[in-house]
Symmetry: C4
Subunit: 266 residues, 4 copies
């Protein structure tokens, strides 16, 4: 059965199972990486001076290529509207917009780094490998932890707001705690153990409270870690729950052929 041109385009652009489709996806990834590198290096003054024109030409060539790709995707897909408003469709559109906007507004070309999101396509290429399964497991674990993580983040934000205000009252503006939002920012920097040191407590009482926040931050990181670990353990266990038809018991390993309880074939 011969495929129509549209069907052949669809297979190449949207699928990664055929050699042509895979080659297309790999070329696409390289184009995206080069495009991001060009945007990043263009922002370095010394590079801009020497290779500025090269970067801009690269950007324009790749943007035109991506635009053609975007149009072909719309043409090739069965339901163009569905593609346009899909997750990948919107990213594909946002990935070409900034270059055209930069003709009108200065600085928008940096928004091109949104193309980094296009790298998510890498998962498509790896479809046949183990990555999708692994990514799904991770995603499932994170999704089923989301309620606990919301509770945890709520607690962290409350601590940070109250502690930040207390530090504002104790240290005051002359020690860098010039306002409550800034003190809250400091509390976040401290609780997450980042510790820039651009603002640091100077008074003895302030340092004592800072110590409490640090030890707190050091200890409560255990909470999200514990949550994700437990969920990940469950997500992995869940992948394939096999029940023996003969004795009705479960808990079999994924590679089991016979029931470990009664010896019947599964």
């Amino acid at each position: 059965m011969r495929l129509t041109l549209k069907q052949r385009l669809y297979v190449i652009i949207f699928e990664a199972d055929t050699p042509a489709g895979k080659a297309f996806d790999v070329a696409l990834l390289w184009a995206i990486l080069i495009s991001i590198a060009a945007v990043m290096l263009e922002s370095v003054p010394s590079m801009e001076e020497r290779y500025g024109t090269v970067f801009r030409i690269t950007e324009w060539i790749l943007t035109v290529a991506f635009t053609i790709e975007y149009v072909v995707r719309i043409i090739a897909s069965e339901k163009p509207r569905k593609y346009i408003f899909s997750f990948y469709g919107i990213i594909d559109f946002l990935a070409i917009l900034p270059t055209y906007l930069s003709l009108v507004f200065v600085g928008t070309q940096y928004l091109l780094v949104i193309r980094a999101l296009r790298l998510l396509r890498v998962f498509r290429i790896l479809k046949l490998g183990r990555f999708v399964g692994e990514g799904e497991q991770l995603g499932r674990a994170l999704r089923s932890s989301r309620h606990k993580i919301v509770v945890f983040l709520g607690a962290v934000l409350s601590i940070v707001v109250i502690m930040g205000t207390v530090m504002y009252l104790i240290e005051g503006g002359e020690n860098g705690f010039t306002s409550i939002p800034r003190s809250v920012y400091w509390a976040i920097v401290t609780l997450t153990t980042v510790g820039y040191g651009d603002i640091a407590p100077q008074t003895v009482l302030g340092q004592a409270i800072a110590s409490v926040i640090m030890i707190m931050g050091y200890a409560i990181i255990a909470v999200p870690t514990g949550i994700v670990t437990v969920e990940l353990g469950k997500a992995q266990g869940k992948t394939k729950e096999i029940i023996c038809e003969s004795c009705g018991k479960g808990g079999h390993a994924p590679d089991a052929i016979f029931c470990k309880h009664c010896g019947e074939r599964l």
Copy 2:
């Protein structure tokens, strides 16, 4: 059966199951958030200059509203004394106090951020959802880890006091380690991997000991993490509680066939 005014007030204010009760709680949460935002922004000099009056009016309106709410809560509850001395009752009282105190004492209006604690009411609104269960699981895991965490914190504090003193003797005042409490503060900053850099060892021996403290801090964070993870795993295992119909006791393993307390088949 018609409810009396008092009963209707009780349902609206204290419960979140009816539409009116839920609407009241959501409005309350927004009022609290706006109130906290006003306090925080008031402390920013540039905002204070421009919108100072707006912030103070907002605070007063909300404080009066919260005061009315507090009085209605006392009237509507069956046992007013029980509400007043309950956890939420005390927070509700503390949340209106600072504004009135600010008439007499300067600066006390910042204590209003204690209202952040009122946000804990959010759990009431979510009562029907999964949050309470998740929060309880987290709470149970933390409660049953508390003995181990006390042992852990004791060990951390001992390390920090001894290491801080050693660094005070080695580095001395000219390198920023001006007193033992300050050196202990530095040791906490280092062990918890915060690392402000406001005090940093300068001598070779001091840097060697600092390296030991850092690696120690990097490694022992594993301890609270391990504790919470294990407890959380157990807390979650307990959720699907099997109760023996014969003796009414629970705590059975998921694969138990007979009750471990009385020997009856589950």
Copy 3:
């Protein structure tokens, strides 16, 4: 049966089960805490100026008291030599030594913070509580992870030595990486995510390598955490392994009275 004076002293000083013994231990803990606080505060110039004499008198009174306690301990114990060379005996001796040494050498009084180690006696007071069991569980988990942790620390030290040297060659002395030991110190500060910022890479290549070290440090913290968590899970499972005498199967919960496999009394 009446106890001799020596026996009564032994019970009071070495045990914590009787009211007198417990009272003695609590008093001892407070004395140790006050003594450590006095040493710490003495090092603060402003405190030293005002309360210097008070601190020194406190130190001498407590040192004399601890000396008397030490002598009584030797007298009261059945085998004095065994006590003197025991772990606690050596700490007790080291805890009184610095004060006497300070008569001859300047500065040795700060070594008094070694008294912090005496706080380990707190575990004795809590003997009846759950702390000992928890501490033992933690200790057992750490002990059985020690081989893995040695392998891990060996890997960390190798990374740090090699990366530190690479950064020394790239950044050089003008950017603060004045020698290999100092660069290794920087690598430790970075890998453990402490990040003082007293030394920071300035060249683009140096920042790229620093980024690799940071992400490495961020990821490999998972290793000790994983080790301790797994061991802690096992240590907790091991506390009481009960085997059913009837069917020979294990895996029972610690509170099981009947075998969950066959229903026989355990």
Copy 4:
């Protein structure tokens, strides 16, 4: 049966089971440690001035010794080519190269720290101990987590590139965010909670976004930790491998009664 000279050399140099072989390996380790220490200290200006000659003589003596050892290893091994191109063979070669190169090029002697890799031989000495098993367990856990860790690192890099660019647009060059690569470097420093503080956001919006990055970094460290913990738990469970006598396959659960591959009683 008497061994030939070649065989005896082989046993001493390549094995660690005999007293002579063990003594040789321990001596080798000390030589490597001394050699690394000499290289590191040579880079300290004050040490170089005083002991420079000692360091260089030590280096040359040890390099000659290592060269002889390398030649003997080639002679003693059955298949010299296999040894030369093996992992340890290449490291052994690289470990002597820099000293000879330093005759021609200045500064290459610092590359000697590559000798740190030779310390991996330590695992050979510990062959009889528990370390190999532990190391293998760790290795197996890390190997089976590698797909998940790649997904995780990909996500981290995407976050860091996008967030870095956003901060470049918000903060701009005057606040230290002089180019996108530098902003991405800052985002890595922040997300990994290192926080040097050499670059820190100054604008309110920048600090708000920095707060989001920090809390993100603080929370997502849970992901690799969870992955490694779960894999480590599985790797350890696998250690007590039950092999079916009938079909010779392993991978049975600890409570299996029948072989899951062929159904025979284990």
